[in-house]
């Protein structure tokens, strides 16, 4: 079946692997170990708890769970972990990568196709890894007469801006990378950077397809930013705050989508346009202008743009959840951590292991994360859904929709919010608290 490497033999592959392992071990024991010992000879090792911290002792501690779990727990509460792993880049990138695969299978099922099937044997679950390896191993081609500095830096800026956007989303109580007092305004300011990056990268590639796509993206993003901002003002009026965490906390009893369905619909349509998804995928209309502003990107540069696009998708879906669907609020379904493990330790046969520092995460955080992920994944699926059924709309209809209908609906939403506020139903001192 495979035609990529017809001469492939598994035995030879394993032989080459063992060969590499042999040489690595040999070189390490002949060169690496003596170097380590020479270094250890000169380094003054500290004395911890009356014991000299030899490498053997350090390794023993690393293998002992009762000593490592407090270290891991203190690591989890550092700023570094937040930025790199949990509510920050790692978590967002994981969800984004899962979205790429789910989108392909999901659309295929909608359109009665099979989608990725061969890679990984079971329903093509390794397709994403295969695509990633392909993108990494591909050559990066810079077009002749391209403006090289801007062309090189554009994918990085795109991923960086998308990650900055994702870092503003509160995932669980207290679990957010950056929690500025004017969070919603920071979101608007961050969204404003995307058109600049798109139009600069499209101009720098020196190709007419990218430039047409970039100009379309600019029109689309700029004109849909206004209804996006206006559709969220109702929530700001009712909650009286711009902080995203406080907005989530204001939705403990009811979600804002109950009172402001029009705002939610307008915001959802603007999300589709800002993300350049069908039916608003004019900037990368593959049947008209090759791939729009992505045309000249190849290899990992395209991979970075793709990662940034899906990070942006996650961030927008998370923002929708935070603003309209109550964020992490939900019934407590996560089971509490078993108390006897904390007090008595784990008993396996004759051995009883006392592990201090457990549990790693408290129940509120896990429950909040669960509800946030469930809601966000739901929103992501609804964002993916139009791609299976809708055609692309014309650009004049797009601009007409954005400037007339959506802005009008957004103002209606603001008036509804003001009415609820002045009628004394919601807001400070209202009937429903």
């Amino acid at each position: 079946m495979s035609t990529i490497a017809p001469e492939f033999r598994l035995s030879r592959f394993i032989a080459s692997l063992t060969d590499i392992i042999f040489w690595v071990l040999l070189i390490f024991s002949l060169v690496g170990l003596p170097l380590v010992f020479i270094l250890l000879f000169y380094i003054k090792l500290p004395i911890v708890n009356g014991q000299l911290l030899t490498p053997y002792l350090a390794m023993t501690w690393m293998a002992d769970p009762s000593r490592t779990i407090p270290i891991i727990k203190s690591l989890i509460h550092t700023e570094f972990f937040r930025i790199i792993a949990f509510p920050g880049f790692g978590f967002a990138a994981l969800l984004a990568a899962a979205t790429i695969f789910v989108e392909r299978k999901f659309l295929a099922k909608i359109q009665l196709r099979v989608g990725p099937l061969y890679c990984g044997k079971i329903e093509g679950i390794l397709q994403l890894m295969g695509d990633g390896l392909k993108l990494i191993s591909k050559e990066i081609i810079i077009p002749a007469k391209a403006d090289k500095p801007i062309f090189w830096v554009a994918p990085l800026l795109f991923v960086g801006t998308a990650a900055a956007f994702a870092s503003l989303i509160p995932v669980a109580p207290g679990w957010v990378v950056s929690n500025p007092n004017v969070g919603l305004l920071v979101v608007f300011a961050t969204i404003g950077f995307f058109p600049i990056i798109v139009v600069l990268s499209s101009w720098s590639a020196n190709s007419k397809w990218t430039f047409i796509g970039g100009i379309r993206a600019l029109h689309q993003m700029i004109s849909f930013e206004i209804p996006l901002i206006l559709s969220l003002l109702g929530i700001v009026i009712l909650t009286g705050t711009l902080n995203l965490t406080e907005i989530v906390e204001s939705q403990q009893h009811y979600w804002w989508i109950v009172f402001m369905p029009i705002g939610a619909i307008v915001f959802f349509i603007t999300i589709l346009a800002e993300l350049e998804r069908i039916p608003f995928d004019l900037p990368e209309a593959e049947s008209e202008i090759v791939a729009g502003w992505l045309t000249e990107f190849s290899g990992m540069m395209y991979g970075l743009i793709q990662l940034g696009t899906y990070l942006k998708l996650y961030a927008f879906a998370g923002l929708f959840t935070v603003l309209f669907l109550g964020g992490w609020n939900g019934p407590m379904v996560w089971p509490p951590f078993p108390q006897e493990i904390i007090t008595n330790g784990i008993t396996i046969g004759p051995i009883t292991a006392h592990i201090p520092g457990l549990p790693l995460f408290d129940q509120d955080m896990l429950n909040g994360t669960l509800w946030f992920v469930i809601k966000t994944v739901g929103v992501i699926l609804v964002i993916l859904l139009p791609r299976g059924v809708f055609p692309r709309i014309r650009i004049d209809l797009l601009l007409y929709t954005g400037w007339y209908k959506l802005i009008g609906l957004a103002f209606i939403n603001i008036f509804i919010a003001l009415g609820l506020l002045y009628a004394g139903v919601l807001g400070h001192g209202g009937l429903i608290q």
């Binding site: 403006d147 500025p180 305004l185 608007f188 300011a189 404003g192 139009v199 930013e225 004049d396």
Partner: protein, 177 residues
């Protein structure tokens, strides 16, 4: 501890100042219009950085979303669509440049003496940060006439722009249904 934080703020202030002024000079001096507008964007972002240092994140974020997100994009867009050979003819004149630099120094010295003499030194620097809610309250109560005048000016300018942009001689042949 407070002293250390003060030094931190000072170094950030210096870095932002160098970035802002350097990119402003670059925006004027770079021959490529695209790079010039990118430098202008950095200048405007640097001003947002000053607002952040002044504990005014509200103003800083509006600076970013309005000046960088809209006005700089507009400039960039316009620059991309023109061919600069057609609209500019270079006048290289060193005397003009020196005269400009001299004029700038004179103006800055003048403004500087006015600012220093204006009692700025007696200003409280360790006051509480003003919340944006307080700004909103003040706008709707004490400064409400000013707010109404601003709203009227802005809406009249929007209506004027629409009236200017609406051309009678171009018929729209595209269907809008």
């Amino acid at each position: 501890m407070a002293n250390g934080a003060q030094h931190m703020v000072d170094s950030i202030f210096l870095a932002v100042s160098v970035l802002t002024i350097g990119s402003a000079i670059a925006a004027l001096e770079i021959r490529s219009l695209i790079y010039g507008s990118i430098a202008l964007m950095i200048t405007l972002s640097g001003i947002a950085g000053f607002f952040l240092l002044l504990d005014a994140p509200f103003v800083a974020m509006f600076q970013l979303s309005v000046y960088v997100g809209s006005i700089a994009v507009l400039i960039l867009f316009t620059v991309m669509l023109v061919r600069r050979e057609l609209i500019f003819n270079k006048i290289e004149d060193s005397r003009r440049r020196y005269a400009g630099i001299g004029l700038m120094i004179i103006i800055m010295l003048g403004i500087g003496t006015i600012i220093i003499g204006s009692g700025l030194k007696t200003m409280e620097t360790n006051t509480q940060t003003i919340d944006y809610r307080k700004i909103g309250e003040d706008f709707l109560t004490y400064y409400s006439p000013a707010l109404i005048v601003m709203a009227l000016i802005l809406s009249s300018s929007v209506i004027g722009a629409l009236a200017l942009a609406k051309r009678e001689d171009v018929t729209n042949e595209q269907r809008t249904d």
